[in-house]
């Protein structure tokens, strides 16, 4: 019934085709609704504890959503340049999206000397005449509030800080705002040496534009690489076409669903086409490879046979791998960062869609159009090409250095696990871009000549009005700023204390010793008369109960920034004392702090995924040992990957955070195929080494094909204009190679040392429960003892006519028949004589089990037979701590032997008696 379920697509082609077409059409209708969203706000967790404080501070002091227009010219302080600068000032101020412009035309100069004080904007209008210009220049460079903030040290560069309305306030997108700013700057580019603007609108607009380019380039490139790889390895155009079709449909369904549910494309979900193409092709390649094996084995009706062969062998691994890969992605669906959450959801949908399509479509198409010849499987069954190289390598290593390989791998893992502790984390949107991208170059220019464009607020809230007229409170602002200076990582900080210090200095004739907060409240209040509200509204609220320090910086490394902010958070309350609340908030702070959530999310996802894999494989093998062992080949690539990241200082960011989970999901795919195949082979042979070798031989081609195709496919992401995607691609490619190494080298070595019982076996045993209970071998044993004894055995299957034991061979195995019948045959020359016919519950081979001697007879299956094979050495080893079970088994074997001896003696006596009686009677 399960096989029929797996063959649904092939058995009901028309219905399947109609279903697929219907879903495709519905999904297709969602495509026009698909949008793109590159807003960095989606990097902030909605549950961020500082968000409320941030919103309040922004409302009171103005937004940190500011664009900086940078103007540089060697002759900036000339009449025509200043006139142009003034025109630029007004051009920006007249834009609908602009709330306010702060620059040399609005910021105040306060200068005092010889009993005079002057308070006026630096450049209220373009000054005329050399003297006036020189005075203005001098005023600008003199003012400590402007230096390295609005004017560079050498006076040749200046900033116009443009406060913008949020896009939703003016019903404009970031792209529109960015375009407007660029259009405004355009006429000024020929006038000044350097003019550009940097801000959130540009960042978002460039994210969007670069994303477009990536999508246009990378998706087709991934496809090309994949097709080429599969063509190369499987030597079949059909094999290359199938993944394209399944991936194409998956992408269409996924994007269509995204359109329907209003989930926009962001920088992570833009990776989906590449991911689906390469990941989705994994199963397709395994299946096609298995199909070709079926073609090779089929004697007639190749397509149907091969399709059935394929689904029979790969149906369960297909389902399991789709589930584990989907689970890997889905583990992030509750992440607090919106962008990761969206990616988790949509990638899960993409993988499930791909699984559904693969399950239905691939059998359908192969059963109708599948090739009837295999290019890769020859009559001599020899592998060719790269897979053959891997197999040879494996055989050589396994034969000569299995332990050394395991030890070396373990040491490597320990080393890289240590490197993991040095992992950096970053969530800064600017870190997504390459260093040579104009946006990054421009932000660096601003940082070097003025101050970094990123800012955050340190807000002090007192419990009374007019608190920040008090010198003691103002000194606290200054003290915090001193601490910031000591940290030596932030570019500038400005507060009310700075403004008052400057006035105090100037009211004392410009003497530097007076650059400090006034020591009387009345003096503070009187100094403040010299400021317009506009001058101070970024630094103190209206009733002077709350003051704000505005800090500018250029730190992109989230872990560094978070460390310094943490330090500040520890120190600041001590400086301000009780009764005053300190809030350290900013949009870029929240984004960077979300980076720490990335690590936690990663650990959580990995934990969930590994737990799920452990549970699934433990069930599969009914053994926790089996579950743990199957984790090893999955963990190795993840450990190596994280270690390399730490070693090479590749940061963990929203892109690279995905790699571990994806790599485990894909690596487990190979592991499940290997174990599944190995278990299957173990049912037919007692030579485990041969089973391991055969497993590797059979799985090498699809595994090498998929791993290298995946590595190459992910490698195409190196061409991305985003560093996070390029890093993701490089790491994922490397992880595929690690996974191949783990699966084709480490896993088989482990497999050959460990015996695992499969679910199949347990299920089979359940169906033969009655037989087992009545079997003389297990008589008088408790349920626990029976289970223990059974789990040591192996379930083998033999076809009709197959020889189970051969006379004259040595063996220490004993067999318990579960189903079917066997004949025990003695040969004398050419003559064969059936000695016994055995059925369910009966045992044979017990003499060899007890003592290693040559088999005394052949045992042949006369029907398909299922047997439990008990190996003496294994039993001796595994049950050494269970002497009672061993004793019981030995006792039962003795009884069986005794009964057989008794029966044999009776038969001899009867024959002798009959022989004696015959002549006279």
């Amino acid at each position: 019934m399960f096989t029929r379920f797996l063959m649904l697509g092939a058995n009901h082609r028309l219905l399947t085709l109609l279903f697929l077409v219907l879903i495709t059409c519905i999904a297709g209708l969602g495509l026009p609704r698909l949008k793109m969203d590159t807003d960095v706000y989606s990097l902030i967790p909605q549950s961020h504890p500082d968000k409320k404080a941030y919103d309040q501070i922004v409302q009171e002091f103005g937004s940190d959503n500011r664009s900086i227009v940078y103007v540089k010219d060697e002759n900036l302080w000339s009449e025509d340049k200043l006139a142009a600068l003034e025109r630029l000032h007004f051009a920006l101020g007249s834009l609908d999206a602009v709330k306010q412009v702060d620059d040399l035309f609005t910021l105040r100069s306060i200068r005092g000397a010889k009993g005079n004080i002057e308070s006026k904007p630096i450049l209220e209008h373009g000054p005329k005449g050399v003297a006036a210009i020189e005075q203005a220049r001098s005023d600008a460079l003199y003012n400590p509030l402007l230096q390295n903030n609005i004017i560079s040290r050498d006076g040749t560069a200046t900033a116009l800080v443009v406060s913008l309305y949020a896009p939703y306030e003016k019903n404009k997108s970031d792209s529109q705002i960015n375009n407007t700013l660029e259009e405004t700057l355009e006429p000024f580019r020929p006038i000044f040496q350097d003019v550009f603007q940097v801000g959130e609108s540009r960042i978002n607009a460039e994210l969007r534009s670069v994303l477009h380019k990536d999508l246009k380039l990378l998706a087709p490139l991934s496809v090309l690489v994949l097709v080429a790889a599969i063509l190369f390895f499987l030597r079949s155009g059909f094999a290359a076409l199938v993944p394209l079709v399944t991936s194409g449909l998956s992408i269409l369904w996924t994007f269509g669903i995204m359109g329907w549910i209003n989930s926009p494309i962001n920088i992570l979900t833009a990776m989906l086409p590449s991911l689906v193409v390469v990941i989705g092709s994994t199963e397709d390649t395994h299946m096609i490879s298995c199909y070709f094996q079926g073609v090779f084995q089929a004697q007639k009706d190749h397509r149907t046979f091969a399709t059935r062969f394929m689904m029979k062998h790969l149906g369960v691994p297909l389902i399991l791998t789709v589930l584990t890969t989907a689970l890997g992605f889905a583990s992030n669906v509750f992440n607090s960062i919106g962008i990761i959450r969206d990616f988790a959801l949509m990638s899960t949908i993409a993988i499930l869609a791909n699984g559904l399509i693969t399950w239905l479509f691939v059998p359908l198409i192969l059963s109708v159009f599948g090739p009837t010849h295999s290019g890769i499987f020859k009559a001599n069954k020899h592998l060719v090409g790269l897979p053959a190289v891997f197999v040879k390598m494996f055989v050589h290593v396994k034969r000569r250095f299995p332990r050394a390989v395991l030890v070396a791998t373990a040491l490597l893992c320990v080393f890289f696990a240590y490197q993991f502790s040095r992992l950096l984390v970053t969530n800064d949107p600017l870190s997504y871009f390459r260093k040579d991208q104009p946006l990054i170059v421009d932000t660096q220019t601003i940082h070097e000549n003025l101050a970094g464009m990123k800012l955050f607020f340190i807000s002090l809230t007192a419990d009374r009005e007019k608190a920040f007229l008090e010198p003691e409170m103002l000194k606290k602002l200054a003290a915090i700023q001193n601490f910031l200076d000591k940290q030596e990582v932030f570019d500038t900080s400005l507060s009310l204390a700075d403004h008052l210090s400057l006035v105090n200095q100037e009211f004392h004739g410009g003497e530097k010793d007076y650059y400090k907060v006034p020591d009387r409240k009345k003096l503070v209040a009187q100094y403040l008369l010299f400021f317009h509200r506009r001058d101070l509204k970024n630094y103190v609220n209206h009733d002077f109960s709350r003051a704000c320090i505005v800090v500018r910086h250029n730190i992109s490394d989230s872990s560094s920034l978070n460390r310094y902010i943490r330090e500040l958070r520890e120190v600041a309350p001590g400086i301000v004392g009780p009764g005053t609340r300190v809030d350290i908030v900013g949009e870029n702070l929240m984004i960077n702090e979300a980076a720490e959530g990335l690590i936690k999310a990663q650990i959580k996802s990995l934990g969930i995924l590994l737990a799920a894999i452990f549970i699934i494989t433990s069930i599969m093998f009914t053994s926790f040992k089996g579950g743990i062992i199957s984790l090893i080949p999955s963990l190795i690539p993840a450990i190596l990957m994280f270690g390399i990241m730490g070693f090479l200082k590749i940061p963990l960011n929203p892109g690279t955070a995905m790699v571990a989970v994806i790599s485990i999901g894909i690596a487990i795919d190979g592991t499940l195929h290997l174990f599944s195949r190995y278990n299957e082979l173990c049912r037919r042979t007692s030579d485990y080494d041969a089973a391991v070798l055969e497993t590797v031989h059979q799985e090498a081609t699809p595994m090498v094909t998929t791993s290298l195709a995946l590595a190459l496919g992910f490698g195409t992401l190196l061409f991305s204009n985003f560093t996070i995607i390029a890093q993701f691609g490089a790491l994922a490619a490397a992880t595929m190679v690690f996974a191949l190494f783990a699966n084709l080298l480490i896993t088989p070595i482990i497999m050959s040392r460990v015996r695992l019982v499969g679910l199949y076996q347990i299920l089979a045993l359940k169906t033969h429960k009655e037989v087992l209970e009545k079997s003389p071998l297990l008589q008088g044993m408790s349920n626990y003892q029976k289970r223990k004894a059974i789990l040591i055995s192996e379930l083998n299957e033999f076809d009709k006519g197959q020889l189970l034991l051969e006379k004259g061979t040595l063996g220490r195995s004993m067999y318990l028949i579960l189903s079917g019948r066997v004949d025990v045959i003695r040969k004398k020359g050419d003559e064969e004589r059936r000695v016994a016919r055995l059925g369910p519950g009966q045992i044979f081979g017990e003499i060899g089990f007890v003592k290693e001697i040559e088999r005394t007879a052949d045992v042949r299956a006369i029907t398909p037979v299922e047997v439990l094979r008990f190996d003496y050495k294994k039993l001796e080893q595994d049950l050494k701590f269970f002497p009672f079970i061993v004793a019981k088994l030995n006792f039962n074997i003795s009884r069986v032997l005794g009964e057989r001896l008794a029966n044999a003696n009776e038969a001899i006596d009867t024959q002798a008696f009959l022989a004696e009686k015959e002549p006279g009677e």
Partner: protein, 295 residues
């Protein structure tokens, strides 16, 4: 109109016409009186107003309203920002015009308590030079803040520039524009341009003045920056006639359209008296000890 006092015959219908004539005369004289109060500027012949130049109009403005030599005012100043937050100050203003044309102004803050005693003094000499000093009681000394009226913008955090408060007829060139009717009242519209010698010191390219034709009072001033962009407006409200021809506004509202900030000055009390504005009041040294000024 004098009423002839006559003995009239005893009541009879013949008296009615005389009563009618009397009452009509009374009514007419009252109306005439009203008209002469309200429209003494509007000469009986319309052509006169058409011949007035901008300078002529402004001469009338100054002569009527701006040259009273001794004015003392108690003001409430309300500064309002773009989100509606308000700062309230109590200020006393002293102004004096000397015989040689020198103008002196003094503003003294009384409230809030932290700024009590802060005083700003500006003197405009008949040469056009303006000096201003600020006295901060907490500092214990005064400082000068420049010799050009154009150098002080946003005086003491308000939306007034110094040149808005200290102006003389001779500082500008006036150009009359088309008259306008605003609120059913006819207005002269005059543009005032700083003279060439003052260009570079003034913060304005021009001001546009709206002057009521009935009383030659400037009720509205639009300010244009040096790029000729309109950015600030002063409107006068609650006009009161204080003398035969002199009017004063009891409320002045300056709105900075660009910064969305306003300064409202409400005159709580005004006294036209020399005794309220003695010359020594403008002396800071005396000010420091003068209890009337406060410290």
């Amino acid at each position: 109109m004098q009423h002839k006092k006559e003995r009239l015959p005893e009541w009879s219908w013949i008296k009615v016409p005389f009563f009618l004539i009397f009452f009509w005369s009374l009514a007419a004289s009252i109306c005439a009186g009203q008209m002469s109060e309200q429209t003494d500027g509007q000469l009986s012949e319309d052509g006169e107003y058409h011949r007035l130049t901008g300078a002529d109009i402004m001469t009338q403005v100054f002569e009527r309203h701006k040259l009273f030599p001794y004015v003392y005012e108690e003001q409430t100043m309300i500064l309002t920002d773009n989100v509606g937050n308000r700062d309230v100050r109590q200020v006393r203003r002293f102004s004096r015009v000397e015989s040689d044309g020198t103008m002196k102004y003094l503003l003294v803050f009384d409230d809030p308590v932290e700024v009590r005693g802060v005083a700003i003094r500006f003197v405009r000499y008949n040469t056009g030079i303006v000096e201003n000093q600020i006295y901060l009681p907490a500092l214990g000394k005064e400082v000068s803040s420049g010799q050009s009226k154009g150098q002080v913008r946003q005086l003491l955090g308000t939306d007034f520039a110094l040149e808005d408060l200290v102006e003389s007829l001779d500082d500008f060139k006036y150009v009359r524009l088309q008259d306008q009717t605003i609120g059913k009242i006819a207005h002269f519209v005059v543009e005032a341009f700083p003279l060439e010698k003052d260009r570079g010191f003034s913060g304005y390219n021009k001001r546009r003045l709206f002057i009521r034709q009935d009383n030659f009072f400037i009720v509205r001033t639009d300010y244009f920056d040096l790029g000729n962009r309109f950015f600030k407006q002063l409107t006068c409200h609650d006009l009161k006639r204080v003398d035969k021809k002199m009017w004063r506004a009891n409320m002045l509202l300056m709105e900075d359209k660009r910064q969305q900030h306003t300064t409202l000055i409400k005159i709580d009390q005004r006294v036209f008296s020399r005794d309220y504005v003695p010359p020594e009041i403008f002396n800071f040294n005396k000010m420091k000890t003068n209890k009337n000024i406060g410290n």
